[in-house]
Structure formats: C-alpha cells, structure tokens
Amino acid sequence: MRLRSFLVPLALLAVLVVVPFLSVDLPRILPGPLDSPGTLQLLALCLVFAGVALSYDILFGFTGLLSFGHALYFALGVYIPAIALTKWEWSLPAALGLLAVVAILVPLVLGAVSLRVSGIAFAMVTLAFAQAGNVVVQTNPRGLTGGDEGFSLNFDPLPDFLVGVVNTKNLYWLALGYAAAVFVVARLAIGSSTGHIWRAIRDNERRVEVIGLRPYPYKLISFVLASFLAAWGGLMWLLLIGVTPEVTTATLTLTLLVMVVLGGAGARFGAMLGGFFYTLLDYRLRSLSGEERIQDLPDVLRIPLSEPLFLLGALFIAVVFFVPGGLASLPARVRQLTQRRRAREATP
C-alpha cells in the first residue's frame, strides 16, 4: 500500500513529462495534437488549476475552512511580479523574492483577522477582503494595475526559454513542476502532525479545544500555506495568460470551490482531478458554444448551452446532490455496486 501511494503519482508524472514529445491527436477533447502549442498551453493551464485547487483543498477539504477569498492570493501571484517586472523594472529574482515575502505577509495579516470568526462569518470576511483586492485592481491606483484592461507584461527580464510560442513546452513543464510541487508539499503538510490537527479541527473543533490545543494557530498555518501555494499558481497564470483583472473576482474563488467539490474535497487526488478536468471541460464547452449545431437551436436550448458557466454550475449542483464524494469517490462507488450485485447473485 505504501509503495502504491508512491508509484501511482510517479507513473502519472512520467506520462505527463513526455506529453510534449507525443504528436497524438485527440479530436473532440483537445484543440490539436498533444505537442502543438495550443494544446500544451491548455494542458499547462489544467495543471496549474490542479495545483491551485489542491491548495484550496488544504483549507476547505482538510482544515474545514470555507474561504471565499482564495482568488486574492492567486491574484497576488499575478499582479505582484507583473508590477515589479513591468512598472518598476526589477530583475526576475528580485520580483520573485518580493512575491515570496508578500505571499506570506498578506495571508498572515488577513488570516489573523478573519480567523477571529469562524464558519459562515469567516466565509463572508474572506470574501470581503478578496473584494477589496478586486476594487484595488479595478480602480487602478497610481496607474499600477491597469484597471479593467490589465497591462502587458514586460518580458525583457524573463529568461529566453520562457518566452514565445515555440517555448510553450517549457511553460508546460514548469506548470507540471508547479502541480507536482504543490502535491508533494500538500501531502507532506497533511501527513505531518500539524496536518493531523487540521483534520481534527475539520471534524470537531470543540474536541480539539477540549484536548487542550488552540485551533487558531493551526488554522492560520493552513491559511498561510494554502495562500502561499496559490500565489505561485498565479505566477504560472501570469506566464501563460498574462495580467487579467478577472483573476481577482469572487467568481474565480467560487470556481475553485466547484473544482474541489467536483473532484472530491479532502480526498487524496480529488482536488487535482477536479481542477484539471474542470479547466478542460470549461475550454471544451466554450468552443462547443460557438459551433453551428448549437447556434442553430431554438433560444430555449441555445442560450443555456452557449453559457459554459451555466452548464458547469448545473453539473456542480448535480454532483452535490447525487455524487457527494465527487470524482474521487467514483471508483469506490463502482466497487460497492459490483460487490452488492455479486452478493445478490450469490444468494439464490
């Protein structure tokens, strides 16, 4: 069992590493052959969201903290390096150093304040802070954030291998590295003694207090770690997509929540599966909505079918109702079903 828990991720990693060398065509799923820049960019994005969703799951699935402000920390990773590189013309190491400091300090301060309340009040406070971040970005203080439009990143301080369409495969590997790093850090953290206390807090916070532990510092550690990991996902978004203000919206946080629940909150691979497949599905539904056979339908069908978010929202509701454990619970469900059938056949 111990061996298997290492082998499965390693085998998966090996397969994902060689993807840019394969020219396999998967029509209807991917936009082009596996080694084409468009496909690699999409897959890189899927991997980034696999990582970000897992970072959110540390909070939601493993510590039981329902935060509605995770987008803020993702957005830090987009905006802090972009501003440092473009507006202040810093070097890349300096910009990354700044991100590392900011991505610890901001969640430390905001987490310390918002964790004074718990449950739904916590959710609303984190939402309010994230909304403040959104307002800051939208109102373009001192011309730093570019408001609604964003701004284009100054690519000069970046090393050559990260720039240009021909180098999309390098970005893909970087995204894979990010997802793998989040996976390793999350597993180590969740397996540590702190991680055990996180799960205890999730299951019954009062009992943790009765045992004599203060949940507050543990919740804060979870909050800071999750936010820190999300910020580096933001950096990947910056390299893959650029500076876009929608990364600061509450919709992004809600999307992360949807990814985690779709995949299975608090399950070993759940959040990553959810992040990966949600992103892929979002892309597929977007291109589907432009197709003629959808556009020719009557309004009653055409309007819902051409709004990917409507379909994803509906799918999400269906999963909450009918598959409470998400994608990750499917193998166990199937196993249970076949066992039950076998048991029924065995009894005459």
Binding site: M124, V125, Q131
Partner: protein, 298 residues
C-alpha cells in the same frame, strides 16, 4: 456643508438598497443557517424582470416603474420559493451542501442572465421628477434618493410589524432563536422556510429595481456587487437581526460615500470608499466578533 448633506443623503439611499438585500439574507441565515449566494441572482433577475415588463406596458413612466416593481417582486418571490423547495429543502441539515448548491445556482443563474440579456447595460425607466433635484440646506439632492429611503423605511416597518404582530412572525422569531424547540412544539418550521425565502426573494428583487433607478441602468453584475455589500451588512449587523441590518446598512452606505469623497480626494484614488467598508468590517470583527446585535430577530 452642502457636500456633506449630499453625501449623507446619497449614502442613506445606498444604505437603503443594502438593507433590502441584507434583511432577506439575514432572516434566511438566522432561521435556516443557509448562506444564500443565490440571493444575488434574485436581485439581478428582479431588476431585469422589472425592466422587461416596463418595456411591454404603456402609460406614464411612473406607472411603468410601479408595474415593474410589482412584477419584479413576484418574479423574485417565485424564483426564491422554487429555489428553496427544489434545491435547499432536500439538503436539510447539511449546511455545507446547501451553501455549495446556492453557489452553483449563483453561477448558473448569473450565466443565464448573460445569455438572455447580454453583457450591455439596459436603461431603466426613471420618471423625470426623480432625476430633478430638491434643495436641502443648500445641497441639490436627486429626488430618487428619497424614493429609495422611503421604500426601505416602509419595508423596515413592514418587516418589523410582521415579526412582532403576526403568528408567522412569532414562529420566525422563535425559529431564529431555537429551531429545535419550535419543531418540538409541533410547528412545521419548513413552511416558514419557504415563506422566508420567498419574502427575501421579493425584497431582493425590489432592491434590484431600486438599484436600476439609482444607477439609471441594469447590468448582469448588479446582483453580485450588491450581494457582497449585503453580506458585509449582515456580518456587521449580526445574523438574524432586522434592526441590526438596518443600522449596519446605514453605516456601510455612509462610510462608503464619505470615504469615496473625502479619502478619494486626499489619496487621489477612486477605490477608497469600497476599501473603507472592508476596513469597517475588519474593525467591527476585531472589536465585536458577534456583530452589532445578538442573534435574535427583532
């Protein structure tokens, strides 16, 4: 001084809308423990329903607006009741799943609004006299501000009378305080749930229509924007308290307006008002984590 008067009355007008949204949210949360993200969709659908019917009926602009408001409230109430019956009720006693479902609904319904009416803002029917100004203490105040304040005041008085003087109000107040006890006394609280949802939906839709008058337009992001401020009002005011919501809504509206003018001038930055509200929320939580009012509906 004139600027201060203008800011105060505009802030009250804004607070009026926050109160309308927050009162429903607060009652729903207080009674059922559901954080209703779909409330934003009730606002947006209400605003669009009011706009849509007003383009279909003739007559004076006042008449169109009144018909719009009535129709919007009907749509809001029906939509909210359907949401409660179909999506919330089966997940009774599973609060996290209930929140998740309202999140899914918020995403799906929001996307549906984009699909049906497009991203562009629609112009709202606003009677000319509401756009005129009245001079109070030397300040020229647009008349629609008084309409918003008056409507919110009527709703406030109406909700408080409902809670104080009717049987269902008594059940709601008792349910907010101790739901298990009310059920144990043989009262079917679930009927009250649907009622509170429909009431909240109707009032939220009314807020949507008023926001159309206030801003002159309606666009698909209206619900989400108002909802976030309403959440803040609910947290500051204390869950389940109508009076607390009213006080907090006024405070949030005023802080936002004052900061938007005075601090924005000083900082040379237009986001000051919204960020000041977030700071207000943070300081209230640091000083009084339970909000302004304790958890009692009154």
């Amino acid at each position: 001084m004139t600027t201060f008067v203008l800011l105060t009355i505009t802030g009250l007008g804004l607070g009026a809308m926050y109160f309308l949204v927050a009162s429903g949210l607060s009652l729903i949360y207080g009674l059922m423990g559901v954080l209703n993200f779909a409330h934003g969709a009730f606002i947006t659908f209400g605003a669009y329903a009011g706009w849509w019917i007003s383009t279909k009926v003739g007559g004076s602009v006042e008449g169109q607006l009144l018909v719009g408001a009535a129709f919007a409230m009907l749509v809001g109430a029906v939509l909210a009741a359907v949401v409660e019956l179909v999506f919330i009720r089966p997940l009774y006693r599973r609060p996290v799943e209930q929140v998740l479902v309202t999140v899914g609904l918020a995403l799906a319904l929001g996307a549906l609004v984009y699909g049906i009416w497009g991203a562009d803002a629609k112009f709202y029917p606003v009677p000319d006299w509401m756009l005129d100004t009245t001079t109070i203490l030397g300040a020229n105040i647009p008349n629609d501000r008084f309409v918003e304040i008056a409507v919110a005041a009527v709703v406030l008085v109406g909700l408080i009378s409902l809670l104080r003087f009717t049987r269902i109000g008594l059940v709601i107040r008792a349910g907010v305080e101790n739901r298990a006890m009310v059920t144990a006394l043989g009262i079917d609280v679930r009927k009250t749930f649907t009622f509170v949802f429909a009431l909240g939906g109707a009032v939220a839709a009314l807020a949507g229509v008023l926001s159309g008058v206030y801003f002159g337009t309606v666009d698909p992001t209206r619900g989400t924007t108002l909802l976030i401020f309403a959440f803040i009002v609910v947290v500051i005011g204390g869950f389940g308290s109508i009076g607390g919501s009213a006080v907090a809504a006024v405070a949030v509206g005023l802080v936002q307006q004052y900061a938007n003018y005075y601090a924005a001038d000083w900082l040379d930055w237009s986001g000051a008002g919204d960020v000041a509200v977030m700071l207000l929320l943070a300081s209230v939580l640091l000083l009084r984590p339970e909000g302004l009012a304790p958890k009692v509906a009154h």
